[in-house]
C-alpha cells in the first residue's frame, strides 16, 4: 500500500465501508436481475455522487474536490473488490478529457454536471473488437459520423468523448446517436454507438497527444479496478482453502497449494506496485505514458492468472453461478481487452523505450 495522507486514508476507509456494507456482490446480483436501462442503479449512482466520488479529479472551481488520481484509484479499487456496477471509471476519464482539452466554456458547461453525477460521460474511441485499430470516424461542418464499438457504459452516458481522425470531440446523446447492445460476459453496459451526423464540439486545447493522455488515464484507472478485483479473488480463495477439507485436512495445509498461493501473493505485490506507481505518475505528471503501460500490462498479467487460479483452486464449486469467483473472471477478460491488451501494451512500451 502506498503511503497515504490522512485525507486519502479517510476516503479509502469510507469507500471500503460503503462497498462492503452497501454494495457487496449481492448488489451486483440484484443489478444483474433488475437489468436497469441505464446499465447501473440510478439511486446507487446518486449515493456515490453525494459522497463526492464523481468529482475527485475535477478542479474545485468546477465543482469537484481535486483530490487527485491516487484518491480516485483508492475508491475505484474498493469498488472493484465488490464488482459495483457503476460508470465511475468511464465518467472520471471522460471528465479528465475535458479538464485536459476543454475550453473555458466547455469546462464550465460540463465539469460541474459531471462532478455532481447529473451527467455521465464515457469514452467512445475504438471501432473494432481490439483497442488501437484504425479511426475512421470523421467530422465535417461540426457533424460527426462513424461507429464506435463496445463503448463502456454507453446506456447511461449522456456525453460521449469521441475520437475522430482530427482529434477528440464531445457529442451529446440525442439526434444522430443510436445504440446497438453488445452484451459481454461481465453483463455490464456495452454497446456499439453509431453517430450519424451528430453535433460535435471539438476539445481543441489538449495538443496533438490529447487522446493518448486520456487513454493513459483510462488504462491506469481501469488497472485500479482490476487491482481491487485481483485482491478480492485472492482473499476469497485463501479463505476457501482454509475452510475446505479433503483427505481429512484443510486444503491450506497442502504444500502444493501453499506454493501456488505464495506465487500469486508475489504477483499481486508487483501488480499493486505497478498500479500505485501509475496513479502517482498521474498526480506528479511525470513519466505517465511509461507508467500507464506498466500499470495496465501488470494488471492484465496478474488478474488473468489470479482469476483463472481462483476458479481452479475453488474446484468445481468455483464454476457455479452461486459462487462469486466466476464473476471476476468474466469481468477480468473484458477489462484486459479494454484500452490495450497485453500485446498492445508491450508493443507500446517497447516503442516508448526506443526499441
Amino acid at each position: 500500500m502506498a503511503i497515504l495522507n490522512e485525507e486519502q486514508e479517510m476516503l479509502r476507509d469510507m469507500a471500503r465501508d460503503w462497498a462492503t456494507n452497501e454494495s457487496p456482490v449481492t448488489a451486483f446480483r440484484k443489478y444483474r436481475a433488475d437489468k436497469p436501462a441505464e446499465g447501473f442503479q440510478p439511486d446507487v449512482w446518486q449515493t456515490m455522487a453525494q459522497m463526492g466520488w464523481t468529482g475527485i479529479v475535477i478542479p474545485e472551481e468546477h465543482g469537484g474536490s481535486d483530490f487527485g488520481w491516487m484518491s480516485a484509484g483508492l475508491v475505484i479499487e474498493e469498488l472493484g473488490k465488490t464488482l459495483t456496477a457503476s460508470p465511475i471509471v468511464a465518467s472520471t476519464v471522460a471528465a479528465s478529457a475535458i479538464v485536459l482539452g476543454g475550453s473555458d466554456e466547455q469546462k464550465a458547461k460540463w465539469l460541474p454536471k459531471l462532478a455532481s453525477g447529473e451527467v455521465v460521460g464515457t469514452l467512445a474511441v475504438d471501432e473494432g473488437a481490439h483497442h488501437g485499430g484504425k479511426t475512421e470516424a470523421s467530422v465535417s461542418g461540426g457533424k460527426l459520423s462513424g461507429t464506435k464499438a463496445f463503448v463502456h457504459e454507453a446506456h447511461g452516458a449522456s456525453l460521449f468523448v469521441v475520437s475522430a481522425a482530427d482529434g477528440l470531440y464531445l457529442v451529446e446523446k440525442g439526434d444522430g446517436v443510436s445504440l446497438s447492445d453488445r452484451k459481454l460476459t461481465d453483463q455490464r453496459s456495452h454497446a456499439n454507438v453509431t453517430f450519424d451526423g451528430a453535433a460535435a464540439d471539438k476539445l481543441a486545447n489538449g495538443g496533438d497527444d490529447l487522446l493518448d493522455k486520456v487513454l493513459d488515464r483510462a488504462r491506469i484507472l481501469t488497472a485500479a479496478e482490476m487491482l481491487g478485483m485481483a485482491q478480492q479473488v485472492f482473499d476469497v480463495t485463501l479463505d476457501y482453502l482454509k475452510q475446505r477439507v479433503q483427505f481429512n485436512q484443510v486444503l491450506a495445509s497442502f504444500q502444493a497449494l501453499q506454493h501456488r498461493m505464495a506465487d500469486l501473493f508475489a504477483d499481486l505485490a508487483m501488480m499493486r506496485s505497478a498500479v500505485e506507481s501509475g496513479l502517482e505518475a498521474l498526480d506528479s505528471g511525470f513519466g505517465v505514458p511509461h507508467a500507464a503501460c506498466v500499470a495496465k500490462a501488470e494488471a492484465n498479467r496478474v488478474l488473468h492468472i489470479i482469476s483463472r487460479e481462483g476458479i481452479q483452486l475453488h474446484g468445481g464449486i468455483g464454476m457455479t453461478d452461486e459462487y462469486d469467483v466466476g464473476f471476476y473472471l468474466k469481468r477480468a477478460r473484458v477489462l484486459e481487452a479494454s484500452w490495450g491488451s497485453t500485446t498492445y501494451l508491450k508493443n507500446r512500451f517497447a516503442a516508448l523505450a526506443g526499441y
Binding site: 482454509k242 508487483m270 501494451l345 526499441y355
Partner: protein
Amino acid sequence: MATLAEPRADTDEAFREEVRDFLAKNFPPELKGKGNALASVEGPTQEDAQQKAWREAMGEKGWGVPTWPKEYGGGGLSKKQARILQEEMGKAGAYNPIGGMGVMMFGPTLLESGSEEQKREHIPAIAKGEIRWCQGYSEPNAGSDLANLQTFAEDKGDHYLVNGQKTWTSGGQWADKCFAIVRTDKSDKHNGISFMLIDMDSPGVEVRPIQMISGLSPFCETFFTDVKVPKENLVGKEGQGWTIGKRLLQHERTNISGAGGGGRAMGAAMSEVAKKYAEFDANGEIADKVLRDKVADFEIRWQAFLLTARRAVEESKAAGGVSEISSVLKKLGTKLGQERSELAIEIMGLQGLGWEGEGFSESELAGVRAWLFGKAFTIYGGSTEIQNNIIAKRVLGMLDHQ
C-alpha cells in the same frame, strides 16, 4: 512520512554541496566505473594505493554505511541525505568501497542484537571496510533444513570448544571473521542454537574452496576442530541463535533480491543489451518481433519488481525495519535476475557464451560467469521453496500439514 528530524530543503542543498566537495577532493577520476572488490565474494581484495585511499576516505566519513549511527562509525545520515549521497556518487561515477557481508547482513543484525561492547568492537571496523566477514550457516546435512545443524560448541567455562563443519561459506578463504550459528544444546532443535563470532585465524579452522560450474570458487567448506571461542563472542544469549540467525537472513534476502539499488549492479537495462547486440529494422525496432516482445515483457516485470522493492522500503520505515516481505522480494528478485541473464544470452547468441580467450570482451566473459554464478540466487539465503513456505505460513497463515 516526513518527520521533524528530516532536514529542510536548504540544508539538503548544503549537504549536497558537502558531498560534491568531498567527492572532488577524495574520489580519483581514474577509479570511475570500477567495482567494489571488497563487496564481491568472488575474489580476494587486491587494492592499489588509490583504491585504499578512497576506501579510507569513505570509511573516515562513515559514508559507506550512511544510515548507521555515528557513534559506531556510521554516517548518521537521514534516508534523504543517504539518497543525495547515492545520487552524487552516481553522477561522479564513484563506487562505494565499503561492502561485503559485514555491511549487508552482520552489521544490521549486530546493531539490533549485539551488546554495547560488541557493537563498539565490530561495527566501526565494518564501517571502515577493514574487516571481512563470512557466514557460518549451512552444513552438509543442514541446507534448506538449516536448524538441523550439528556443529557443536561445548561450554568450557570461559570459552566454547567448537567442532564441526560448515559449507557454502562464501568468501571463507578471504574472511577475517565468521558469524556462525552453532549448536549449544543437542536436545532442542531450534532452542539449542546459539549465534557466535569466530576468528578465522583461530587454531583449528581450516578452509577449502569448492570449484563451481562458473569456474570460480567463491564458496568454501570450513572445518572447525577444537576451536576455542571466547564467551564474549556469543551474541545474545545461549539458545537465541535461531531467532537472531533468522533475523539476519531477512537482511540477507533483501540484499540478494537486488532491491535497494542492488538491481542496477546486475548490469545494463535489457533494452541496452538489445541495442548493442540485436538487429534493428528500418523503423528503429528490434527486427525479431518475438525477441522484441520478450524484452518488453521482461522490462515491464522488472520495472514492477523495482517498484515493489521501493514500496517495501517505504513501508518498512513505518513497520520498523525488514520483515517477511523480504521473502517476497527475494523470491521475485532472484527469479528475475536469473531470467535477465538467460535473456541477455538469448539476445547475444553464441557471443554470449564465451568461456575464455580471444573474441570476447571482458564484460562478455564476466556476463557468462555471472549467469552461472547466478544459479545460486534461488538456492542460497533460503531457497525459493523455503521462501514460499515462509510466505504461505507466516504471511498468509496457511496451516502446517498435520
